[in-house]
Amino acid sequence: MIYALCLILFLIGLYGVLVKKNIIKIVIGLIIMDYAINLFLLLVGYKKNGIPPIISKGDDIAEFARNSVDPLPQALVLTSIVIGLGVIALMVAIAIRLYERNGTFDITKMRRLKG
């Protein structure tokens, strides 16, 4: 059931991207989609009463391997957070530049190019 909440979060973000007419709102929608996916990946790797995948001195390795949560999704999420950060930086740069050229964040006023 908790996965469904992730899906809802993802769809809220998608809704923002599709429907909103303000560049900043679109950016926010994309950020929300990012969060939803990260959360989903981590939840997939979760194990009930799991411990963090960090061995401390004197741990029994076999015991640890049985109890620890899945470390691979964490590595993936780390990468995906960084990717999200880079994308946000580029997006904000383009948004600022558009604002400079146009004086507004509203995309209904700038859809001169038609698809």
Binding site: L30, L76, V87, R112
Partner: protein, 490 residues
């Protein structure tokens, strides 16, 4: 086997070094960029016919990330690097129109790295990472001119691109959640053992949407005309020539054929998407008067041919699809470079304003004539052979309607390009273009290289070349999930 990482390391190193170059050495980035792409061309030609798996870090297969080289990757590698070389050669003079050449070359090489990485990798998440490198570099390059239209196109491309990437990442997450691995061969193996279930179907749908967005297939094509017509010409050539194919078509082939395994339903979806793109793209192109926008719509249409051929699933169809893929890379890149030359000389992209340019720009006019005939499918140019194969494959597979549609789309393409030739290069020279000149030498050289390729690529069908270059790629697609056995067996 040790040269495989060089496809990543070499452009990456140069891309990291270029921004540090002082602006006193104005020629250095040009030289470095071109040397890199030239080396990559030689490297990619040298791996023709090789297959193998390279395990990064020496880790065994599911533990680490592996690079897989097989017929399909080699085909893509050669195409990517040849087009990239022509584009960098062209950029030397063309990019004098813009400032900040250092960043341009760096971004260009990063995009190239991303594409090479996508083609070589054997790991699903790694594919996503490199796909993002290539996409992010291309977002920045589309907006490189910082004019209003360019920024807007870049933003539109960026938003849709990120949505596509999110779909892909979500698909990867779902796959990881149901399979527990990221290695493509291992995933394929597990799917074969356990059969498909809803989760995997959902992931497949997400992948199709994501990669379809990247490939600009018809329901998802809205970004392409803007992005491709606003970018600087060499970038348009790269985007239309190889980027949509690497990030869209290649990935669709890999995922659909080699990971999930082709099924009736998937094949039908691909064929429908392909036909729709083919017809709608060319219909939209007919009404265009902006040179580059017209070419961009034709890209949608030609990509439709490729997907149609691949979706058929028969050996002949796949051969036609892949052959058309590389042909389209070459002639569409050439056409975009032509459009760039015209824009460089006249400063406009509107076709009504041009006319009679063949007197003043003989090289551009000749090469564009070759490319136009090639894209319209006139013998003996390369486009003819691949379209013929696709149409024949349609008939052979029992879809005469699709074959008819393909022929009609081809005729419409011919009409559209006759319009281009008539308005841009023939007719009478207009008064205001009396003082224009042919573009600089290096730009001409780049165009001539591509047009020579256009003429002679039909030769790839003779047995010797066919066996070493096209056939291995077709075999990779045909073997389907046999991919897993081959890779894991290494």
């Amino acid at each position: 086997m040790n040269i495989i990482p060089l496809f990543i390391v070499l452009p990456l190193t140069v891309a990291f070094i270029i921004p540090m170059i002082s602006r006193k050495f104005i020629k250095l980035p040009d030289v470095l960029g071109n040397l890199t792409t030239l080396t990559l061309v030689f490297l990619s030609v040298s791996v023709i016919g090789k297959t193998g798996v390279y395990m990064i870090g020496g880790w065994k297969m599911p533990l680490g990330i592996n690079m897989v080289i097989d017929g399909l990757s080699v085909l893509m590698l050669v195409t990517i690097n040849v087009v990239a070389f022509a584009s960098t050669l062209y950029s030397v003079d063309y990019m004098k129109m813009y400032t900040s050449k250092l960043r341009y070359y760096s971004l260009f090489l990063l995009m190239l790295t991303g594409m090479n990485g996508v083609v070589l990798t054997g790991d699903l998440f790694n594919l996503y990472v490199f796909l993002e490198i290539a996409s992010i570099a291309s977002y920045a390059l589309v907006g490189f001119g910082c004019e209003y239209d360019e920024l807007e196109a870049a933003f539109k491309y960026l938003v849709l691109g990120i949505v596509a990437s999110s779909f892909i990442l979500f698909g990867i997450a779902v796959i990881y959640g149901s399979v527990g691995s990221l290695n493509m061969a291992q995933i394929s193996e597990v799917i074969k053992q356990r059969g498909m279930n809803n989760a995997l179907l959902f992931a497949a749908a997400l992948f199709l949407m994501g990669f379809g967005l990247k490939a600009a297939l018809v329901p998802f094509h809205a970004w392409l005309p803007d992005a491709h017509s606003s970018a600087p010409a060499p970038i348009s050539a790269m985007l239309s020539g190889v980027l949509i194919k690497t990030l869209g078509i290649y990935t669709i082939i890999r995922v659909v054929y080699n990971i999930f395994g082709i099924s009736e339903r998937l094949s039908l979806i691909l064929m429908i998407m392909g036909t729709l793109s083919m017809v709608i793209g060319v219909l939209l192109a007919l009404g265009q008067w902006d040179f580059k926008r017209l070419l961009a719509y034709h890209s949608i249409s030609q990509v439709g041919y490729v997907i149609l051929g691949i979706g058929l699933g028969t050996p002949l169809g796949i051969l036609g699809g892949l052959f058309h893929l590389i042909n389209h890379s070459v002639f569409k890149a050439l056409l975009f470079l032509n459009a760039g030359s015209v824009e460089y000389a006249t400063g406009t992209r509107q076709m009504e304003e041009m006319g009679g340019l063949s007197e003043k720009m003989p090289v551009t006019a000749t090469t564009s004539l070759i490319a136009s005939m090639s894209i319209a499918g006139i013998p003996p140019f390369n486009g003819f052979w691949s379209k013929l194969i696709i149409i024949a494959a349609c008939i052979q597979a029992g879809h005469p309607v699709l074959a008819l549609l393909a022929v009609i789309a081809s005729i419409l393409t011919l009409a559209s390009f006759m319009k281009v030739q008539k308005y841009v290069f023939f007719e009478k020279l207009k008064e205001k273009w009396n003082d224009i000149r042919e573009v600089p030498l290096l730009m001409c050289v780049a165009m001539v290289i591509l047009s020579v390729l256009c003429v002679f690529m039909g030769l790839l069908l003779i047995p010797a070349a066919w066996n070493s270059f096209l056939n291995p790629a077709v075999q990779v697609v045909l073997e389907g999930t046999g991919y897993a056995l081959r890779v894991l067996g290494q």
